[in-house]
């Protein structure tokens, strides 16, 4: 992006209990309990503000609407994404964990399945998040986008396996069992 990259912050304003959407041209972005608060960036330090900004941009560029929810009672990516998909008017959702692991889900799929999965969080950067948003929007429109190309890094395990385990445990601590998903409005403010 423009050098130096603009610094932005992300606040998720709660607007009420998450409801099922009726418009068929919407994608729901579902985030995990610790997303944006207390965590503010992914495992490779991509700010959450930039993650959401890029996903929203990908969806907007396709002419589709976006709605965001925060899931409170689980930190399992498939569950988070599937809850979002079932609430989405198009049936399509993007699920995110704080460390960056992402998936595109659809409401009729089994929970443990997905449309596209991005399991190696260290390999996801702003550009990939933009493509994920774009693909999700295209699925919502009934189009068939080519899956976002995934990179593979053999040395990702030595470098990141333990930090990922640690972040996962921290996220688990933020679970509020029994709390229903909440619709949130992403407020992205520029700091510089």
């Amino acid at each position: 992006m423009t050098a130096p990259a603009a610094e932005r912050s992300l606040t998720l304003k709660e607007v009420g209990q998450a409801q099922r959407g009726s418009r068929p041209d919407e994608v729901v972005i579902a985030v995990s309990p610790a997303f944006a608060d207390p965590f503010t960036k992914t495992i490779v330090e991509v700010p959450h503000a930039e993650v959401i900004r890029q996903i929203l941009a990908g969806i907007e560029e396709q002419g589709v609407h976006a709605r965001m929810i925060k899931v409170w009672d689980t930190a399992d990516l498939a569950a988070v994404a599937h809850i979002g998909a079932r609430l989405s008017g198009s049936g399509i959702s993007v699920g995110l964990l704080s460390r960056g692991t992402t998936m595109i889900h659809q409401r009729d799929l089994p929970r443990l399945s997905n449309l596209e999965l991005f399991p190696q969080s260290p390999l996801l950067d702003a550009e990939v998040f933009r493509l994920i948003g774009s693909n999700a929007a295209q699925y919502a429109k009934g189009e068939s986008p080519a899956p976002v190309p995934t990179r593979n890094d053999q040395m990702a395990r030595p470098r990141w396996q333990a930090k990922a385990a640690l972040l996962h445990l921290k996220e688990y601590e933020c679970i509020v069992a029994g709390r229903r998903p909440v619709e949130v409005e992403p407020v992205i403010s520029r700091l510089s």
Partner: protein
Amino acid sequence: MTTTEGRRSKRTEILEARPVNLDGFVEEWPEKGLVAMESDFDPTPSVRVEDGRIVELDGRARADFDFMDTFIADHALDVETAEEVNAIPSIEIARMLVDPRATRDEVIAVGRGLTPAKILDVVKLMNVVEIMMAMQKMRARRTPANQAHSTSAKDNPIQVAADAAEGALRGFAELETTLGVVRYAPLVAIALQVGGQVGRGGVLTQCALEEATELELGMRGITAYAETISVYGTESVFVDGDDTPWSKTFLAGAYASRGIKMRFTSGTGSEVQMGNAEGRSMLYLEIRCILMAKGAGVQGLQNGSISCIGVPGAVPGGIRAVAAENLIASWMDLECASGNDQSFSHSSMRRVSRALPQLLPGTDFVCSGYSGVPNADNMFAGSNFDVEDYDDWNTIQRDLQVDGGLRHVREPEILQVREKAARALQAVFAELDLPPITDAEVEAAVYAHGSGDYPDRDVLEDLKGAQAVMDRGVTGLDLVKALERTGFHDVAENLLTVLRQRVSGDLLQTSAILTDDFVPLSAINDANDYGGPGSGYRLEGERWEQLKKLRHVTSAENPETEVS
């Protein structure tokens, strides 16, 4: 003392750039189980037996048992001796493990009744040298061995066959493969089997797949053993994978019913990685896995963290815990295929130090496995060692006079077995009406290093052929017949002899492998009799002479030349 703001030490910059600083390290978090083996949250050992049944295990009453506790209490622990041996002070048991004068049988007799927390308590008293000392005595088979991966980034069967042959020639006793495209499995498994037998008769082969398919290939005799049947240390993680200890045991029984060798797989770190360590340390949970395997009646276990190695590798004392888990498996009288099989560090120094606790004392399989292909072709996501480390490995064996299962082989011999393996596979494919292997592919196989050095195959035709193998019910005997008909009598004989082992059931014994004379070598007839200096397996005699050879050794007779 003044420092200019922002000026860095040149030394710091150099150290920052070292590969080891690319590895991941984290602080411990014992409450969540992110700790190797020293945790205040692990249970206190306890056991109570009533009417021949264990009613309390490590602080839990039977009414509160989860299914791991139940399985261990009912099937793993020796009820007769439990209360007695758990009362022995841990320090005494630890000393028995280390002291060469306490025999393996004595130590096993004690271990049989110990609870998971008690076992943990014992090994916590041992430093890594003591653990290695104990390992030397406790491994089941007297003769150490090694295992390799042979895979291809393009699932190219010729590559798998040629590298299997080279690996077998270099000394691996077991060979493992897996696929990028699952449908290729029948052809690649056949290639591994044929290539392995060309390298040296008696090598055992496996193909790591989804469990039902792997069992079918084994039942058909296209593979000789299975290993990647995973077990976990907490009920929640086990259930997440849609399994229970009983379902895994049933699967083990299915293999045993055909005389096929198999072992389970487990490893420290898997539970905490999945976020469900229930507050227990990595080693405590791994001990539960080891006892579960024992209770199921399988002959052995692959452990040593395996694909979770990045997790214990990131916490203090993690590699010590990994050494301990290998020891405990052997202590429970199981064959131990001791890890060293997954990439876990950018640092060459760390890659070696991590393997010393297995290499120096010797285990049933020092690596499970070493990559017998370049890591870029390794479809297990990269191993701790690969083909480019062969000469270093052989040198370390020679430096320390230890037998790591491998030896240096001269190039002409290697080229010869590679060519023979490719030709044999070419003949088998032709006999079985599979997509042909051209002479150009055979030629490439002889000199190749990685998958890029082979001509591309017609994948569509290969996949159709692979399906035909399954549809037509091709078995190991068909491979034997094909090899025989095409003139590869010795390879046919080798394969037939390997297949015959199912009838004798010898490969069901603990730690069974076959020598190149097809003599089964297992804990039964090659029992580890280590009892201190001058006993047990020693690298000496003819074998030591073999391991003295390296690629370049200056001749003593004529220092202007090298030993040929």
